[in-house]
């Protein structure tokens, strides 16, 4: 069974078909990249996978279960989480607190228990703090744990979003342009981080414009053009696919 199966996926905005007839599958424990010229529908695809947009047609199955109409928080519960193209870090908290929100699914105390500060709550807080600290360490962010997120530089915030998503212990991580705005050093560190995430057992779907990053770490690449699947295969195959080259160069 494939981890993620997308069948006949379609999204219309009014008369415009943003995604049409999309079919693909993602196996476990790989880095699966989605590339394509601007406007090809990559972020739309992510928004469809996480049900921020409702598909106009088709189905999405995760671990064999239909998730097409599940609300985003239930999709997260099933083990899918994501980072965002426009950073959605919680700027009103510290870095550690941001990541602790990531542990939401692995804790359970409710509002009343919290108000009364029951012993179970205290125990859980300790556990969550430790989980969050580990996620920060994995991303090499342990030094800024107590800094307010609003005071952190852009590159750090991008990594923080990843740490937060990891704290949720997902099976599938969707990363929307994680390299955008990063310099060369930061991009290399990101490359390293993504590989380590995959090695730890998490499947990654990556949307990226940075071709060298994509070709370096991906196991499988899918090319979108005008919302349709243009080609898919190994990085080598894609790099030598004439249609793909035409789609990118044709942009000029």
């Amino acid at each position: 069974m494939q981890l993620l199966e997308v069948r006949d996926l379609e999204k219309k905005f009014g008369g415009l078909k943003a995604i049409s007839d999309l079919n693909f599958s993602v196996t476990e424990r790989i880095i699966f990249s989605v590339i394509g010229p601007n406007g090809a529908g990559k972020t739309t695809l992510f928004n469809l996978l996480t049900n921020i947009y409702k598909p106009s047609g088709g189905s999405i199955r995760f671990l064999g279960r239909e998730i097409t109409s599940l609300p985003p928080y239930k999709i997260a519960k099933m083990g899918i989480t994501r980072t965002f193209q426009n950073l959605q870090v919680f700027l009103n908290m510290t870095a550690l607190e941001n990541v602790m929100v990531g542990c939401h699914l692995h804790s359970s105390s409710g509002l009343i228990a919290a108000a009364l500060r029951l012993p179970s709550v205290t125990r859980e807080e300790k556990k969550v703090r430790e989980m969050a600290r580990q996620a920060l360490e994995f991303c090499n962010l342990q030094d800024i744990a107590h800094m307010p997120a609003s005071a952190l530089p852009y590159g750090t915030l991008k990594r923080l979003e990843i740490a937060r998503a990891l704290a949720a212990k997902p099976r599938l991580l969707l990363m929307d342009e994680p390299a955008a705005g990063l310099n060369d050093t930061e991009t290399m560190e990101l490359c390293n981080l993504i590989s380590r995430i995959c090695e730890s057992g998490i499947t990654i779907i990556l949307v990226e414009h940075n071709m060298s990053l994509v070709m370096e770490i991906s196991h499988h690449v899918l090319v979108l053009n005008y919302g349709e699947l243009l080609a898919q295969g190994s990085p080598y195959e894609i790099q030598h696919n004439s249609e793909v080259i035409a789609a990118y160069l044709g942009e000029d």
């Binding site: 928080y73 990531g102 919290a114």
Partner: protein, 322 residues
């Protein structure tokens, strides 16, 4: 542990004056007003400050608590504490039903919806005079007994309100540093990111809406018995705005900020009485000035200034020794 010390100091500052000056007007009467406003501000802050949901109608829940106690005890002869619980239950149900559609709204639309709600409830208090006594209000509430102790003099009322207030503040502080508090703040920070981390944002918003409404409702019931009088005037649009002012004055999202804001705004009328007719003008001016120049609120601004000062001192010491 700094937090524990802070809270204990705060609790002491509430308890000590009552022990030392049990007959003082400022302690018993003004103190009760301050405690009332603190609970209302703290409950509103949970909704507005942590969860980021504007409410311009919070006075409605306060009023519903007061009127349900008044009506049930005076018109139907029900035991005061049972009436209080019944009122709280009714408000819990109403606020829950309303919470789902209302909290789908954001920004101005949410402000307007809560405003509309508050005004409708207020008009109901005025118009349903068979039930509520209309604009002239109702009085003659029976004495409230808590755990068998009748609350029948000023100092007992102060203790009741003080304990209730200290519990509410404690609850709010506890919620802030818990999974629920973080979920609330996450909803405020980025609802979409919160959802992608498994937070059922609709449920979280709804629960805090109900929690804050019930807290205001219970405060209203206590208020009704303590004043032995309820009238629509106390529960209108202007009071809702006053409550919002308290929260933002101290600092949205900070429990102690709400406390500070409540204290300042409770004492302000006493100070402004000197200025008589200028009172409304000055209130408006203060509100505007703080929001323009210190939008994070007075308490939070003070906290920030303190942190900056401490950081600079550390830097200075580090530089001196290097």
């Amino acid at each position: 542990m700094k937090a524990m010390v802070g809270y204990c100091l705060f609790a002491l500052s509430t308890i000590v004056p009552a022990i030392l000056f049990p007959d003082n007007y400022y302690v018993t009467v003004v103190g009760v007003t301050i405690c009332t406003n603190i609970v209302l501000a703290v409950s509103l802050n949970l909704l507005m400050g942590y969860a980021g949901q504007i409410s311009l109608g919070h006075a409605a829940f306060f009023g519903l608590g007061a009127y349900s106690s008044a009506v049930l005890t005076v018109k139907y002869g029900i035991e005061p504490w049972i009436a209080m619980i019944a009122g709280a239950f009714m408000v819990a149900v109403i606020s829950y039903i309303l919470s789902r559609p209302i909290l789908k709204l954001k920004g101005h639309y949410l402000a307007m919806a809560t405003l509309g709600l508050g005004i409708i409830v207020h008009i109901f208090f005025v118009q349903a005079d068979q039930l509520t006594g209309g604009p002239d209000g109702m009085s003659g509430l029976p004495v409230l007994t808590i755990f068998g102790i009748p609350i029948d003099n000023d100092i007992k009322w102060y203790w009741t309100f003080a304990i209730f207030m200290l519990l509410s503040v404690l609850f709010s502080l506890n919620i802030a540093r818990s999974r629920s508090g973080r979920a609330l703040a996450a909803v405020h920070g980025s609802e979409i990111a919160a959802q992608m981390l498994g937070v059922d944002t609709a449920k979280v918003k709804s629960h805090i809406f109900v929690f804050s409404a019930v807290l205001a409702c219970i405060t209203g019931s206590l208020f009704a018995h303590q004043q032995d009088f309820v009238s629509p005037e106390s529960f209108g649009f202007f009071f809702s705005i006053e409550l919002v002012t308290m929260v933002v004055l101290g600092g949205l999202g900070s429990t102690y900020g709400a406390v500070v804001g409540a204290i300042i705004l409770s004492l302000l009328p006493e100070l402004l009485i000197v200025f008589e007719d200028f009172e409304v003008l000055i209130f408006g001016a203060i509100l505007m000035t703080i929001m323009i120049f210190l939008p994070q609120g007075l308490f939070v601004a003070m906290e920030q200034a303190f942190h900056n000062f401490m950081n600079r001192r550390e830097q200075g010491a580090a530089n001196a020794t290097s």
